[in-house]
Symmetry: C2
Subunit: 347 residues, 2 copies
């Protein structure tokens, strides 16, 4: 039951992505909907900037899907700030029912998975699912004051500024949500908060294996398998772990954190943050799916579930990974045209 | 679509509650499953104590329902600690898929509502939904170091030590889950973190009105309506707000926070915390429902969605309330007996 197959009633209607200036210089720049010139968004604090970013992303997604806020039944989301305040305060502006979630950087897949279940079972018509992160608010909440200019070890990742939101809908589109897998919390004993890729790799491996096995598929059945934000080291560990279990991740595998930045940027192991897989899904992956360049994609968002308190108290870092399978479906004939062609036949 | 009616496939099979010594001296003492003598649970920190408390509650609920961990498909939960670490680290021990949630003190109803939807739609057989809080870990995370002995203003509430978990199941029991309502985030401009009841009352009012209207019911159709943790002042505000809208909450209304403590305890406006409605639901309310003393109950858990950072940055406090409607159903004849009595008839 870990993997839930949809009854083919649910689509990813559209998505919207917005990133910061550093991310906007990266290899995916042509795919993002909006690249910020100023990562403060003219707000006085980075936390307020993050909130404004999420609000812009959510309304951006609704607009892009040609919907109005009144068409949206629920907002499913969460973020990395304590008490997921970016999402809660965004929900305050939306005035629609809010389902608050937390899976750290796996929140995009969790939101998408639950939204898909609601729509597939006829409990909602349209849901907006989204999340984002801000480098500066994450850095000062999880690590050190920005002013301290602390050095980073080589295994560290860089929390992206950016995020994305998807409209999950029963309106037919070219991208169907096939199935979702909810992950288990797995801890291999990594205690170094500057090596989160290693902490999350075991859960990514577990979820991918569970998903493909439950779906009766193989790795090669997917054009693209994307993990959330394992980074360079984490994704190498994932490849090793899976190979050890006889599953070979091939050229169709990539990590959103590794895809985010140009090689010349000093971001060490690459991008991380809930916004990482959210922005890559709702830009690069979605656009490739909409064009039919990807036929079937497995998005595996990965989260490290520690807090600063657990780390200070000597705890290791548990990881989680949730997966969503997306499929390109051939365009449906518009109803009007179909009726017309029928009328013609009858004439 | 804010209210989702079940197709009558989902039951609250059983529940388990555990509270601290102070709560165990209160009026509900005879209903709790376990009262701690030592609120440290022999752990070195209050955060570790909270985690052990939640683990005990979750395993307690599974045991009490005569199930094994292998029978449970998902754990739905969250808590008040940053990054919901009590729940995530509990999920690590359970080794089953975990759906992490956050609605502050509305988390019990959110967990229950999502679990009910999964089971009602055949996506799971048994789910454990639960949460808890610990006075000392909440106090030092949200307010002041305990050692400071800070004075509390008269509108303050007391985060309970305790919590509860429910087994949501397709196994028929005497308590059916009828419907759930997901709340909107509402903010009336209260900025005082020592007056959370006032901040949450508007969302409680909104959710109760939405639920009874969507269900085509009236207040008097419920034997018992319980808000999560508005406390004394908050529940008076709720009564006023609803009366203003022409809805009169009668003697069938009570607040879990007000029910928790003896009047002689110095807990000001009463109990609060995610564990508050979780422990009252899984003790007093559930036992009354199982005996048929309550026929229909509306549980409305209420959450204040601020963080210490938003408060420090001058933000007001948004509230949310999720509702779950529970109904006593006449006991189903056990299958064996039914067959026997049929055989007798045929004889």
């Amino acid at each position: 039951m870990q993997t839930i197959k949809m009854k083919n009633n649910v689509y990813l209607l559209n998505g919207y992505s917005m990133v910061g200036p550093l991310e906007g210089r990266g290899p995916l720049r042509e795919y993002f909907d909006y690249i910020l010139k100023d990562d403060t968004l003219k707000e006085k604090t980075f936390e307020k900037a993050e909130r404004k970013l999420l609000q812009s992303i959510i309304t951006g997604a609704i607009d892009k899907a040609n919907l109005k806020i009144g068409d949206i039944d629920f907002f499913f989301g969460g973020d990395l700030l304590n008490q997921i305040v970016s999402s809660s305060y965004t929900a305050r502006e939306l005035e629609i029912p809010f389902v608050g979630l937390y899976s750290a950087c796996a929140t995009m897949a969790e939101s998408l998975a639950l939204s898909a279940i609601f729509v597939d079972n006829g409990l909602a018509n349209n849901i907006v699912a989204g999340t984002c992160t801000h480098f500066s608010s994450a850095e000062r909440q999880y690590r050190f004051p920005l002013e301290l200019g602390n050095q980073r070890p080589p295994t560290a990742q860089w929390t992206i500024t950016g995020g994305g939101a998807s409209i999950v809908s029963n309106i037919k589109s070219k991208v169907r949500i096939n199935a979702v897998t909810f992950g288990k919390v797995i801890d291999f004993g990594i205690a170094d908060v500057n090596n989160m890729g290693a902490a999350m790799a075991p859960s990514a491996s577990d979820t991918i294996k569970a998903h493909i096995s439950n779906m009766g598929k193989k790795i090669k059945d997917y054009d693209f398998i994307a993990t959330g934000d394992l980074g360079k080291l984490g994704s190498e560990i994932l490849i090793d772990l899976m190979e050890h279990d006889g599953v070979k991740l091939g050229k169709n595998y990539a990590d959103c954190g590794c895809m985010m930045y140009d090689k010349t940027e000093r971001v060490f192991m690459g991008g991380s943050g809930a916004g990482c897989s959210a922005s890559v899904l709702n830009s690069y992956i979605l656009k490739k799916l909409l064009k039919g360049e990807f036929k079937r994609v497995l998005l595996v968002s990965t989260g490290a579930l520690m807090s600063t308190t657990t780390s200070q108290q000597g705890e290791t870092i548990p990881g989680i990974a949730h997966a969503v399978e997306l499929e390109y479906v051939t365009p449906i004939k518009p109803v009007k045209k179909a009726i017309k062609s029928k009328e013609k036949k009858n004439d």
